[in-house]
């Protein structure tokens, strides 16, 4: 068992190994081919190209010696083997790779290389490569972080150079990275912003741009600033931290440079904005400082209600601008309302936002017919003027309260309304009687007695159901009824027989005890009582009655027949013995199910 398992485990390794061996042997019979290739035929000075000498048909060919190549420094990297199966045809190969670093510009030729394999010389074809000027010139140079600043620049600018107080001005901070420079871990820029309220930056975006014929990658950080002081206001200079990957000094001649990570802080020039104060001319009284372009909406719900019920007034200001400056509009004419503190909810997304004021009003009179008109004013910097928008004025129906006495009753005299009666409001007087009193604070549904009482109907219902089912069975199932009553009837018969012993009547005793056992057998096995004699005993054998009981029954019937028909004498002891046998037979049959 163990052996077979070991074999099964080993089989997983052995079979592929054999297959590989077959492939190797098969492949060795194939022809050898040698070729040379480079990954790039045009390369800039300082950059590296990879030369690969591929030997097909074997994996045991050694690396050919790299000749001196003009314009390049070369170094052997190592072999790479390959097995491929195409259309059930396998092939083996090995590639020897060399790094060639371009050292000067011009057109150069990688000469033919000679491979000696098993005494046979194989030659590769020469390859022409052009080395050009390019980014590689500065990349290969040992750069310092200071040198790099000419390749990474930061600029700060705004969409507008003149703005009003609290007007949203789009601010752009752009990081220029010259193509080829690797910059990592760019942090969000920071800048001094005294006199401005600044929103957080959005997600940075990237794009390519060309400046004076040189390609740059531009990373844009945009936000909105709100000037809070008028005058000539300076923004910046902005600063940005990032990591730059570059070649450390003194290692540039090494073919396999390891680039180092330098932390760099780039700084922009400052930027100035002229901030104008808001005009005083035409400024509405309810102007609270909101500058931008806004919509104003007022919704009142419900519009049909009773005195004392609340109306929710939802005032929404949304649009472009500094939404924080939008204060709750003043609601005029609230003398017939009870007013509660408003709930304010603000949703912002850049220079746009939505501010909701939820105000609960409760009309104190049914004479209120409409929600007051509400005005919201703001300054539009595009139009250079103040704008006032109006909402509300919604008609409402206020019915008198039905919770207490009506507040006012219209008096009618000869069909004319003449006077309103104003009724007072106060609490109803105390009660004279104590009323039904309970002790404790428990509720009825927690009372244990009450809960137990709830089970009684279910228990009663279940009991009655069982009782009724049994009654129905007695009425319809005669066999079951006979079997059920058999032990009780037998007990009665045995008690009668017992009483006959004491009265000294052996004949009557025998008849009674015989009848008892006869009836018990009839009921127990659903047989006609009259036909139960000693002959029936044999038929009980087929019903699984034990031999012991059958023997006792046979003896019992014999004994009774002797007394009943032959008139044999029977002492009191004999009668007691017979009674005991009858009891035993019935008891044994009861135990036999």
């Amino acid at each position: 068992m163990e052996k077979s398992m070991i074999f099964r485990t080993q089989r997983h390794f052995v079979i592929p190994f054999i297959l590989l061996l077959i492939l190797v042997c098969k492949s060795s019979a194939e022809d050898i081919s040698v070729s040379a290739s480079v990954d790039n035929r045009i390369v800039s000075v300082g950059n590296i190209i990879t030369l690969a000498i591929k030997v097909g048909g074997t994996q045991s060919a050694g690396a050919p010696r790299l000749p001196n190549i003009e314009g390049f420094q070369g170094q052997y990297v190592g072999p790479r083997t390959q097995v491929s199966i195409v259309n059930n045809q396998s092939s083996l190969s090995i590639s020897h790779r060399y790094y060639l670093k371009a050292t000067k510009t011009g057109k150069f030729t990688i000469p033919s290389m000679v491979l000696n394999y098993k005494g046979t010389k194989y030659k590769t074809d020469p390859i022409e490569v052009e080395v050009v000027k390019g980014d590689g010139q500065w990349r290969s140079k040992a750069m310092t972080p200071e040198d790099l600043k000419q390749f990474i620049r930061l600029a700060i600018q705004t969409r507008k150079t003149t703005a009003y107080l609290n007007e949203g001005v789009l601010l752009l901070i752009r990081l220029y990275i010259r193509s080829g420079v690797e910059v990592r871990d760019i942090r969000y820029p920071t800048f001094p912003s005294a006199g401005f309220s600044v929103l957080p930056f959005g997600e940075a975006t990237q794009r390519q741009t060309t400046i004076e014929g040189v390609r740059f990658r531009a990373v844009d950080f945009m936000t909105t600033v709100y000037p809070v002081t008028d005058g000539e206001m300076a923004l910046g200079p902005a600063e940005l931290d990032c990591n730059v990957l570059l070649t450390p000094s003194g290692t540039s001649n090494s073919l396999f440079d390891r680039r180092a990570r330098y932390e760099l802080t780039i700084k922009s020039d400052p930027h100035t904005i002229t901030v104008k104060p808001l005009p005083t001319e035409g400024k509405p009284k309810n102007f609270s400082g909101a500058v931008g372009q806004y919509d104003f909406d007022v919704v009142a719900k419900p519009t049909s209600l009773k005195v004392g019920e609340p109306i929710t007034l939802t005032m929404t200001v949304k649009g472009q601008g500094n939404i924080d400056m939008a204060n709750i509009p003043e609601i005029p004419g609230l003398d017939q309302f009870k007013v509660y503190d408003p709930q304010i909810d603000v949703k912002k997304g850049g220079n746009t936002g939505e501010k909701t004021f939820e105000q609960v009003l409760i009309p104190t009179s049914d004479s209120v017919k409409a929600i007051p008109k509400i005005q919201f004013s703001y300054f539009d910097p595009e139009q250079e003027s103040y704008i006032t928008k109006t909402g509300g004025g919604t008609p409402i129906q206020v019915a008198p309260s039905d919770e207490a006495e009506p507040l006012q009753i219209l008096e009618i005299t000869e069909g004319k309304a003449v006077k309103r009666e104003v009724l007072g409001k106060d609490i109803v007087y105390i009660k004279d009687e104590i009323g039904p009193v309970k002790r404790g604070d428990g509720h009825l549904y927690k009372n244990a007695g009450f809960l137990i009482l709830q089970f009684l109907p279910l228990i009663g219902f279940a009991g009655i159901l069982v009782y009724q089912k049994r009654r129905e069975r007695f009425a319809t199932d005669r066999t079951y009824a006979r079997q059920y009553h058999a032990p009780r009837k037998a007990k009665k018969g045995l008690d009668l027989a017992q009483s006959l012993i004491s009265s000294g009547k052996p004949q009557e005793f025998c008849s009674a005890i015989f009848k008892t056992v006869q009836e018990y057998l009839g009921d127990r096995f659903d047989l006609p009582v009259a036909g139960i004699t000693i002959e029936v005993v044999e038929s009980l054998r087929s019903r699984g009655i034990s031999e012991e009981i059958l023997e006792k029954l046979t003896n019992f019937f014999h004994s009774c027949d002797m007394i009943r028909f032959a008139g044999s004498d029977m002492s009191e002891n004999d009668m007691n013995a017979n009674l005991e046998i009858a009891r035993e037979i019935i008891s044994l049959l009861e135990d036999t199910k």
Binding site: V360, I427, I430, P436, R439, Q454
Partner: protein
């Protein structure tokens, strides 16, 4: 002889115990009535503080009645204690929701609450499914539900015994079952109100409801004395509460009393 004497002594002892129990119960009944009338007299004489003391004595002794709570609510309102007044009106209303006086005084007291509507607006589903809550107390609904349940079972039993009328009895049982199903939501709502989702009344002049259960959390809204809140969750001495308009927040447990 000794046995007869012992038996007589036992009978005498039992008689004495029964007599004392009867006297004590009558005395107790008279006692709480006396305190109630004394409190009423104090109220009539506009001695509201004395009235409050006497009604409170009854409540603290474990006596519970809609009228005690109602009168106590009145006495508290006269002393300017809106929170306690609303608390006892609410308790009286739960015992006797059909009493117009209780309803009227409760509504009046609610109008005195600052900063909120004071009471919950009935939702449509409450009107449809919990319609009995406004008419029956929780105990009354308990009896009604139990009675319907007993009647259903009795009809089922009758259906078992009287085969010829079985169908008729089962129809009756089904009709009462339908009634039971209609009444059950109100009953569960009543239990919910008194047991699992308790309501409480603010007892301080003004309190702040915060977004989180700590003293430094931002204030969501304020509640004033007498405002009714629903307690939805508890965490140490902080409780999450719901206002009449559904707004939720956290409140410290020493500023309200459960109804």
């Amino acid at each position: 002889m000794n046995t007869v004497r012992s038996f007589r002594n036992l009978i005498f002892l039992l008689d004495t115990i029964i007599l004392l129990a009867v006297v004590a119960s009558i005395g107790g009944a008279q006692g709480h009535n006396t305190i109630f009338f004394r409190a009423n007299n104090a109220y009539r004489e506009e001695k509201y503080d004395a009235a409050v003391r006497n009604y409170e004595q009854l409540v603290n002794s474990g006596f519970r009645s809609a009228n005690i709570y109602y009168n106590l609510g009145n006495a508290y309102l006269r002393t300017g204690n809106k929170g306690k007044a609303i608390l006892y009106y609410e308790r009286a209303f739960r015992i006797h929701p059909r009493d117009a006086d209780i309803r009227s005084n409760l509504n009046f007291a609610r109008t005195l609450v600052e900063g909120s509507a004071g009471a919950y607006r009935t939702q449509w589903y409450e009107k449809v499914f919990l319609f009995l809550r406004g008419f029956l107390s929780t105990d009354e609904m308990t009896v009604l539900v139990s009675l319907l349940y007993f009647i259903i079972v009795i009809f089922l039993i009758l259906g078992i015994f009287f085969k010829s009328q079985r169908k008729l009895f089962y129809y009756f049982a089904a009709a009462f079952l339908a009634l039971f199903i209609i009444v059950l939501p109100s009953f569960i709502g009543g239990i919910n109100r008194t047991g699992f989702q308790q309501k409480a009344v603010i007892m301080v002049k003004e309190t702040e409801i915060r977004f989180e259960p700590n003293d430094d959390a931002t204030v969501h809204f304020k509640l004033h004395e007498g405002a009714v809140i629903q307690i939805t969750r508890s965490q140490k001495d902080w409780h999450q509460v719901r206002r009449y308009d559904g707004k939720m927040g956290w409140i410290k447990g020493d500023v309200f009393t459960v109804i």
